[in-house]
């Protein structure tokens, strides 16, 4: 966009923030009653929902439980038939996908068709969504204590309702809260934030306008207590001299997100224990 200054001379960004300032974050856990765990987060204008089912028995894709569901058919149903003593025992579901020593983490990233400025035709199944799903899976396999639940599967479904930059970070933050809401043991919170680099300054928590400008973007998912990085991804060219500064900006932003998420979890537990009458 010609003439749009991402960082003004006084150090203000397009939406009035300072270079290292995060957007306003509001979050809530326990949004849906029927799922095992669910959470909703708003980071500025980016809104993401995460829902967790599990740990449950490992299933292949499209496996139906013989349910009352109208019209749902598993396209890739994998049946294994075993003949035992004259009658056929049909085993549904792909046991092959379940791992013998740890839980399988399965993630799906979906963004609503109305979430972006231009209407998207397919909510999920395109390359970007599949890639995001794999990245989320990699992130959470590093954090969830999967050894405690062998031969089972944990499903994390993330839905982006409104995308205004930093969708990966919002999804990771929402999914962390949802996994905590489901009571699945984790090594630590997973907090994520994006960062960019403009005019010699590292910017934290990019909005859509800043991402679309084409500069370098870094997405970082951090385990705050130990400072370990669960996922690091960078687009576009960045001189290696600047990498450390951008990385530090993203890490600091992720630690700030951690403070906020910690507060949200404690508030949620306090409310739940009040309801229980403690």
């Amino acid at each position: 966009m010609a003439g749009l200054e991402l960082l003004s001379d006084q150090g203000y960004r397009v939406d009035g923030r300072r270079a290292g300032e995060l957007r306003k974050i509001q979050a809530r856990m326990g949004v849906f009653a029927q799922a095992d765990g669910s959470a909703y987060i708003e980071q500025g204008n980016t809104k993401a929902l995460a829902v967790v089912y599990g740990p449950h028995e490992g299933m292949g894709q499209g496996w139906t439980q013989g349910s009352q569901l109208k019209g749902a058919r598993g396209r890739h149903m994998q049946d294994r038939e075993r003949k035992t003593g004259g009658f056929v025992l049909e085993i549904r579901g792909s046991r092959a996908r379940a791992l013998p020593d740890r839980a399988l983490v399965n993630c799906q990233y979906s963004s609503a068709t109305f979430s972006t400025g231009e209407r998207k035709r397919r909510p999920h199944g395109d390359r970007k969504s599949c890639e995001m799903g794999l990245q989320l899976r990699q992130t959470f396999e590093a954090a969830i204590l999967t050894q405690l639940h062998p031969r089972s599967q944990i499903d994390i479904y993330v839905q982006v309702l409104q995308a205004d930059g930093g969708t990966y970070a919002a999804c990771v933050n929402a999914a962390t809260l949802a996994v905590l809401d489901a009571g699945i043991p984790m090594r630590d919170f997973v907090c994520a934030c994006s960062a960019g680099f403009v005019d010699g300054t590292a910017l934290a928590d990019l909005s859509h306008v800043e991402e679309a400008a084409g500069g370098p973007q870094l997405a970082l998912a951090l385990l705050p207590a130990s400072g370990q990085i669960a996922l690091l991804e960078m687009d576009a060219r960045l001189h290696e001299d600047h990498l450390e500064r951008v990385l530090e900006a993203a890490a600091q932003a992720a630690r700030d997100v951690h403070t906020l998420l910690d507060r949200v979890v404690r508030q949620h537990v306090r409310e739940a224990s009040i309801l229980l009458g403690d």
Partner: protein, 288 residues
């Protein structure tokens, strides 16, 4: 949604209760659960609405885009429906698992809007035969707790009420189309005649409105009736694997009309009240 398995005793309990006009949660046969409706939830759409009916959670976003009018109706815009059954409702909707249900719901929506009076499509025309507004109505099913069709139709009506389409000015003779100078100059759709679906499930010898998942598991057949606020029926469809008696179909249709009028009246009052609070109202969305 699929995790409802009822024992025979539970089914008998529900059926006997319904015979006495007393359902498991204490409602009568013609009572709806508490419905929460909120509009303007997603800001980069032309209109949006969220409906929470018991455990059923629906989010609808309407986006207006420019397109060419259809050949047989050159003076009108049109609506396109798309239903996304999100995996957050049940893991079985992961990948393409929710496509079948989504297509079924979208086809039903096309049918109920497929008449001249539901929406005045002429207001969506920009220049005849060349440009028109296409309203893409996208339904996102987030959680399923029974009675999907009703909740979706309520959400679609509320979202269409909330839709604001920018007014375009085209110069006489030239092909240029410009946005009008005033950013608040919008076309609003009249949703007076937009129908709502009322699903009536036959349980035993009686029928119930707004069935939960457990009640749907006990019912063999249901009737979907699409009713406008004046009580006009625009579409009717029988679903389910059982069969219905012709007399019970007439009874269910009468109940559907009666219940539908009340539903429309309450929905109108709620959305008008919300709009009267103005742009400064507290938007709750999923945080409340």
């Amino acid at each position: 949604m699929a995790s409802v398995t009822l024992s025979e005793a539970e089914k008998v309990y529900i059926v006997h209760g319904v015979q006495e006009d007393l359902r498991v949660d204490g409602r009568g046969c013609e009572d709806y659960r508490c419905v929460e409706v909120e509009t303007d939830v997603v800001s980069n759409t032309s209109g949006s609405a969220r409906v929470k009916l018991g455990h059923t959670d629906i989010l609808v976003g309407v986006k207006a885009e420019m397109g060419t009018p259809k050949l047989e109706k050159p003076n009108e815009g049109y609506l396109e429906f798309f239903v996304d059954c999100s995996a957050s409702a049940t893991p079985e909707f992961e990948g393409r698992g929710g496509d079948d249900l989504g297509t079924e719901i979208a086809n039903t929506l096309y049918r109920i809007f497929n008449n001249k009076s539901s929406v005045d499509l002429k207001t969506l025309c920009i220049s005849p035969r060349e440009h028109c507004w296409v309203l893409y109505v996208d339904v996102l099913l987030l959680e399923c707790g029974g009675n999907l069709f009703d909740a979706i139709s309520i959400a679609v009506k509320a979202a269409l009420f909330n839709t604001r389409v920018r007014v375009l000015e085209d110069e006489e003779g030239s092909k240029d189309i410009e946005l009008s100078d005033d950013p608040y100059d919008c076309i609003r759709l009249s949703v007076e005649n937009v129908p709502c679906i009322v699903t009536l499930c036959k349980i035993g010898y009686r029928h119930v409105v707004d069935a939960t998942l457990q009640e749907e598991a006990c019912s063999l057949a249901s009737l979907l009736v699409s009713v406008t606020s004046k009580g006009v029926v625009t579409c009717m469809r029988k679903v389910g694997k059982g069969s219905l008696d012709p007399e019970s179909i007439f009874e269910m249709m009468e109940t559907g009309k009666r219940v539908g009028k009340v539903l429309h009246a309450s929905l109108q009052s709620v959305v008008h009240k919300e709009e009267s609070l103005g742009p400064k109202r507290q938007k709750v969305g999923f945080l409340g």
